[in-house]
Subunit: 144 residues, 4 copies
């Protein structure tokens, strides 16, 4: 069991969200945040840095969105389900953008291959949360 | 003219978003982020800290959402309009929650009165952006 | 091998810092950041929240310092060894403060017991880096 | 009076640090963080992006250090003077690196000229704090 899962289990606040699914999304956001910070920095030192501009920008943005999503999911007290919904949606979108761009460079830059994988795992974990009953009404409104 | 406005004007990337409105939202997010970090910390030192629990939690979350929204709005290259939309929406929601809670304590805690004002200004600046033509389609989809 | 370790291995920039030790510190910072965000939020929902004020403040600060230290350690290109040194030192200090406070509540709040453990692991991983030859000169100057 | 200064004045916790100097550093960190996020993004869209790699990396790191320093300075309750010292030192170092790199591009990239100015103002405001009596002992130890 990851520490994130244990921390959720130790919270005095109950939640209708599945703790395993939330913990999986937290862990995926942590991993994706780190790989994006590292990938953006590695891109800057590559000989073909000019080709990597979009990758650097997307990785940098993605790291920021993953960080705030991780923080929101780690909290249960005084949270706002609609805020969580928007952050999860933003996270899925930015991780998807980032994964698609990293994929274009994966063959020649191993850090892009690794980062693509981390971003896709984060999309999957956040989307799994969004597919939960607790978000059904908000997803319907959002035309998701 | 604020530095945020000057920085947008110096970007090599054009945008259909009004630069004055974006800069106003950036500046409001900066101010709100700072007041929320400070308010949460001051709450913790008040004699009635037990009554302030919700205020501390909301200020802490609000600071994080304002921070990421400010970063997203400060970028023009390789951004995703739908991500910006979700972050602005999350920012309006969390700043509203935070302002309403701070208002309840504004009479006896001057830091809450100041923080309420900063959060309401952030709601207004972010909502003004959301009301722009550029977000009309996304707002309609979101039932905004 | 953790993803952080793989990402360091994929960087085009060489480093005289031991990649295993850096990756261990990155992973410890990620874990500690998350446990601190979660612990502060859980504290706020406890019946004895007034006794937890210092724990909430320290966890909140610690999460921020762990986050920036993790980001700095994830980069190799255009980094400043003295900046890294200061961040590692700040991280050791704030994680120590946080662990000691969490320890006081560990018997009755399981989230504090978990968070204490994560913070102590982060102290150990960051201190191990500071003990490396690469920081010897800076540590001597700092009277470390 | 800036809001940061008003927030410090509204804190229930006294401090031996001069509130005007702390507020000036907070405001400088906010401004520098924003200009660095914006400058890094603008760099990525410039035709000479390959020449800007170091500027992008330094701006990105600088934004993160300014953000955490601003947060630390905004708190008075349960803070650690030695942590604040390390963060201020890291902030002075990274803002100096960033300003020097931006200066190299200031003639042809207006965003670099603006960012250089913001980073130098942040160096000055943070150094003014470090020169205060409250940090004298820590500065002597650090060989500052």
């Amino acid at each position: 069991m990851s520490l994130a899962r244990e921390m959720l289990g130790a919270s005095p606040v109950a939640s209708d969200l599945d703790a395993d699914a939330v913990a999986a999304a937290i862990d995926a956001c942590l991993t994706s945040q780190q790989s994006c910070v590292s990938c953006a920095n590695s891109d800057l030192a590559e000989h073909d840095v000019a080709e990597m501009a979009r990758c650097i920008a997307l990785c940098t943005s993605c790291a920021d969105v993953c960080a705030v999503t991780m923080r929101d999911l780690s909290r249960r007290f005084a949270t706002n389900r609609r805020v969580t919904h928007h952050l999860l949606r933003a996270c899925v979108l930015t991780c998807t953008d980032c994964a698609e761009e990293c994929e274009r460079h994966a063959a020649h830059h191993p850090h892009c291959a690794l980062c693509e994988k981390a971003c896709r795992a984060c999309v999957e974990a956040c989307q799994a949360l969004l597919d939960a009953e607790a978000f059904a009404q908000l997803e319907k409104l959002a035309g998701g």
